[in-house]
């Protein structure tokens, strides 16, 4: 039975990149369709009529949306190289931190700010949130302890995203000196 896996995404979206990372970790072959968010394809709108956003994973014709939901789906469908921990408590923790990153840190990082004052304010907020994350990471190599897992996927995207936004914002919020553990 041939599996058909398609991913609608954009290169610039950290949510899209997280899903791609999950697919690659599992070694799942997929077709990638780059979307122009100013000119959404009819396919995308058909697959995600409610939010009309990327990423959307289509597995054998069935669409799945919301990056964290997609990553869990991938983990449950392709059982090799588990992304989420097995223990229920660890899973709850991983889900909590992923949500924290996605709902608190990423939207801040993605805010297109204009004034210098605003940029600084956003910078301070992000700094505080990152400090919390760093506290959580502590001495472990990865968020899930030994192997690359769920959180690392979500967090790795932050690193990429920050490099982009920092140039855009002209602010150096996240750097190796300030966050040695995260880096």
């Amino acid at each position: 039975m041939a599996e058909e896996v398609k991913l609608y995404g954009t290169w610039v979206s950290p949510f899209s990149r997280s899903v791609e990372l999950a697919l690659k970790l599992k070694g799942i072959p997929y077709e990638y369709i780059e979307e122009d968010l100013h000119n959404k394809s009819p396919d995308l709108i058909k697959c995600n009529p409610i939010h009309q956003k990327v990423p959307v994973l289509v597995h054998n014709g069935k669409p799945i949306v919301e990056s964290l939901v997609i990553i869990e789906y991938i983990d449950e469908t392709w059982k090799n190289n588990p992304i989420l921990p097995q223990d229920p408590y660890q899973r709850a923790m991983a889900r909590f931190w992923a949500k924290f990153i996605e709902e608190k840190i990423l939207p801040l990082a993605m805010k297109a700010t204009n004034s210098e004052e605003e940029k600084e304010k956003v910078g301070v907020e992000i700094f505080q949130l990152m400090k919390i994350l760093e506290g959580e990471l502590n001495e472990k190599d990865f968020f899930g302890s030994e192997n690359i897992g769920y959180l690392d996927i979500v967090a790795a995207i932050i690193a990429v995203w920050f490099r982009v936004t920092q140039e855009f914002l002209g602010v150096k919020i996240v750097s190796e000196e300030k966050f040695p553990v995260l880096f």
Binding site: I50, K62, V69, E72, T77, P88, A92, F96
Partner: protein
Amino acid sequence: MADEVILLDFWPSMYGMRLRIALAEKGVKYENKEQDLRNKSPLLLQMNPIHKKVPVLVHNGKPVLESSIIVQYIDEVWKDKTPLLPSDPYERAQARFWVDFIDKKLYEAGRKIWTTTGEAQEEGKKEFIEVIKTLEGQMGDKPYFGGEAFGFVDLSLIPFYSWFHAFETFAKFSVAAECLNFSAWAKRCMEKESVAKSLPDEKKVLVFLTEYRKSLGIE
């Protein structure tokens, strides 16, 4: 080895209600510790230092946060009884999507209704009805969101029902008049003991919100 389960809760919290229902469905014995949110207890601050919010489930001393995450945790730990999530990965993804949709859209629309007046409140009311209609469409002919059995999406949505009376009073409308199937579903859920025991009296919620509005200077 006895399990120690504590729920840090606040009686009108819709998110807390989800957990009361889930724990009741699973037959889990727990201690409910009602929190005063204007005067947060050291226990709450210790268990949820980041968000300082309820509900929090404390299982054998370890805190679990965020209601939808806690429900999944409950489902995975007490897995031998009454599954709350479907077993098929695609159905699970659908359930998670709809709970996320409810969290993002319904709560916000409801908030507009009880924290504003005039045009902003009208807007909130319109959004609220639209969200309910979308959910209604999704349910179709099935008795519950998950199909034949009451599940994750149902228990995540039904708590809002205890706040409907308040919303309807503030914004002068009737959900039952606008969404017949939804009302039928709600009544079905309320017939379940786990739900009826976990939701507060809607009149009590109205009194609570009315006082809260006054204290915020609304109206």
